[in-house]
Subunit: 378 residues, 2 copies
């Protein structure tokens, strides 16, 4: 196939003339995803502390859930019984599940990695769990998200070129097995480019994964501890190598500067736990800065967190109230700041899309800095 | 005054012919409270994990906040600066603050109690804090709730008759000082009847407090550890002794059976931390029972928690999902179950009011048991 098959399609609706940036609409069985778009992370079938109806209010369109975590708790069979992840978690919009690979390699107590797959010890009950490309597909098919991700090996940073090359070869072999075993017409499978910080390996991986002609393509193995300049190099290298008509997903990236840089290189989709994790720890994203609301300077500050933000934290409460909730250990602070931070990234996504449509993306967002012309317009 | 002064008034709109039950409308500067009514507790200017807009959805009309806790964090001056508790917490409906007395006596590291007041050590920073009737009034006036409660001495259970009598004398003397120092026309002051489990002391206290002719009257010192039969005896004794045209508030009671019993004795207002505390610990109130949703029997139960309940937990999710969230330690479970449990008590309040209006309260709710005719109609 050369285009996402029905019910999937990706329509590019506008392009920037000076960069590779584009905006579009990725159609899924559970509705459209307007790109560029940040996807909040709902690890265990919930964006922590946030109800689905509240999530809609942030502007989020597609939510990511984690196969590794859901396999451990509650297990994919429970989710399948419930009628799939959408019904289980009460989110009626598009969903994406990762493959479990990243978590196995970063969180897992790994016993064995070989060409067959990975065996690790469950952190919940100590039992041995084998994850293979086929198993990851079976779990993701049971979960039933709109998009499933290929099972890949994401090498740690730093790793030698030989180790990264081996992980790439395995990732490519696993991708073929994922494609062979994925049998779900209402779920799109995205391939993942690996290759660490090695341009030769990245180029080869992009070529191999693009050749599979899947409905979407992702770049993984970034934001795994490498210097930010190295990540930028990978993003810049990848832009021209990704097949233009497919959605391009940069995994694990959700900072404004890197999103803007990646959009300028033609990336469309992003996810990151940071906005919600920062929110739970009392930090708000405001105009490109991170504000620790625990700070005493907010104690008497009765103004709204961000006067231009439509989220419940900004429209219903003050900085002093949020400061109080955090100091008091009140969980409402976590919910409010998670909603605020997601809203910020969705508004940033919208602002980039609008700038692309209006022909001012390059001027306003590339490169994007906290004092860029667009910094105070969204 | 013989009736709550403007802007307060209490209109009794229907009465049960066979019990003292009545329903009515308590008008406050921030709107009406339809009685009988359960009031959720928002200790630190937040019902834990619940946004004001969500709270409206439960049917809650009046929210209670704790003077003791708010004095310690963030301090009443911050709240006053913000424009009062309503604006600070973003709750636009009626609010009530307790006096701090109960918390000082039950939570406080008390240094000295005398006729002047109480001195205790702050659990936050160890500093000495003196709370007197005048200080409690000043704090509550700064907080600015619609209803302030008199500063009373609630003796522990068990206590000797002599000790309870002394606490009553002090409570009555403090009530006079509260009345003398309370100067806020848009805030109603309620007196509190004490007297423990001693009928003679209760009778005298009811007489003394009723004679103050305040806009409302509360019965305190119940649900403090005494046997449930003793609490029932106090409630039954108090009914005929409370001034009929005033709102009657039974403090700290929020179980269905006791609320129904108290409504039959003419009580109108209730509060209790239990519904929200149980919710945070994974327990749902369903049809008069307590369900621990952590229990494995809910693992595969994909039905709604309570099919007749309009709350977000019941309309948007399944028992299996709630079970999963609790097992996974997800805070969304706490929010959902808190909303559910509050909704249950508001629906129970509504059902009692409707039964009073329709003339079937005595039949359906007095005595109320889990298998009462009304148990499955709300």
């Amino acid at each position: 196939m050369s285009f996402p098959p029905p019910p999937f399609s990706y329509a590019i609706t506008a392009r920037c003339e000076r960069t590779r940036a584009r905006c579009g609409c990725f159609h899924t069985p559970h509705g459209p995803v307007h790109t560029p778009r940040f996807m909040p992370v709902g690890t265990l079938a919930t964006v922590k502390g946030v109800m689905p109806a509240q999530l809609v209010g942030t502007g989020a369109e597609m939510v990511l859930a984690n196969t590794y975590h859901l396999h451990l708790q509650p297990g994919e069979e429970i989710v399948r019984e419930a009628g799939g992840l959408h019904r289980f978690m009460g989110w009626t919009g598009p969903l994406l599940t990762d493959s479990g690979g990243f978590q196995v390699f970063s969180l897992g107590d790994i016993n064995r990695i070989d060409d067959e797959g990975v065996t690790f010890r469950s952190p919940r009950d100590g039992r041995q769990i084998a994850l293979t490309p086929e198993r990851s597909m079976a779990i993701q098919m049971a979960l039933g998200a709109d998009v499933a991700m290929a099972f890949d090996q994401c090498p740690p940073f730093p790793a030698s070129e030989a180790d990264v090359a081996a992980a790439c070869r395995r990732t490519h072999a696993w991708l073929e097995r994922c494609v062979a075993s994925h049998q779900k017409s209402d779920q799109a499978l995205f391939g993942i480019v690996q290759g660490g910080c090695f341009p030769r390996l990245r180029e080869e991986s992009a070529r191999v994964v693009a050749a599979m002609d899947l409905p979407g393509i992702a770049v993984g193995g970034v934001s795994v501890g490498e210097p930010v300049e190295a990540m930028h190099r990978v993003v810049r290298q990848m832009g021209p190598l990704l097949p233009d008509p497919k959605p391009h997903y940069l995994m694990g990236v959700g900072s404004l500067r890197e999103m803007a840089l990646a959009v300028a290189e033609g990336f469309d989709l992003f996810d990151c736990v940071l906005p919600t994790r920062l929110g739970r720890h009392g930090t708000a994203l405001v105009g490109g800065e991170r504000w620790n609301l625990r700070n005493a300077r907010f104690r008497h500050d009765h103004s709204p967190l961000d006067p231009g933000c439509p989220c419940p934290a900004c429209t219903g409460h003050s900085r002093a109230y949020l400061h109080h909730l955090i100091r008091a250990g009140e969980m409402l602070a976590k919910t409010l700041l998670s909603l605020h931070n997601i809203t910020q990234l969705e508004r940033f996504s919208n602002a980039m899309g609008q700038a692309i449509r209006e022909g001012c993306f390059a001027e306003d967002f590339a490169p994007w800095e906290a004092d860029s012309p667009a910094a105070h317009t969204w």
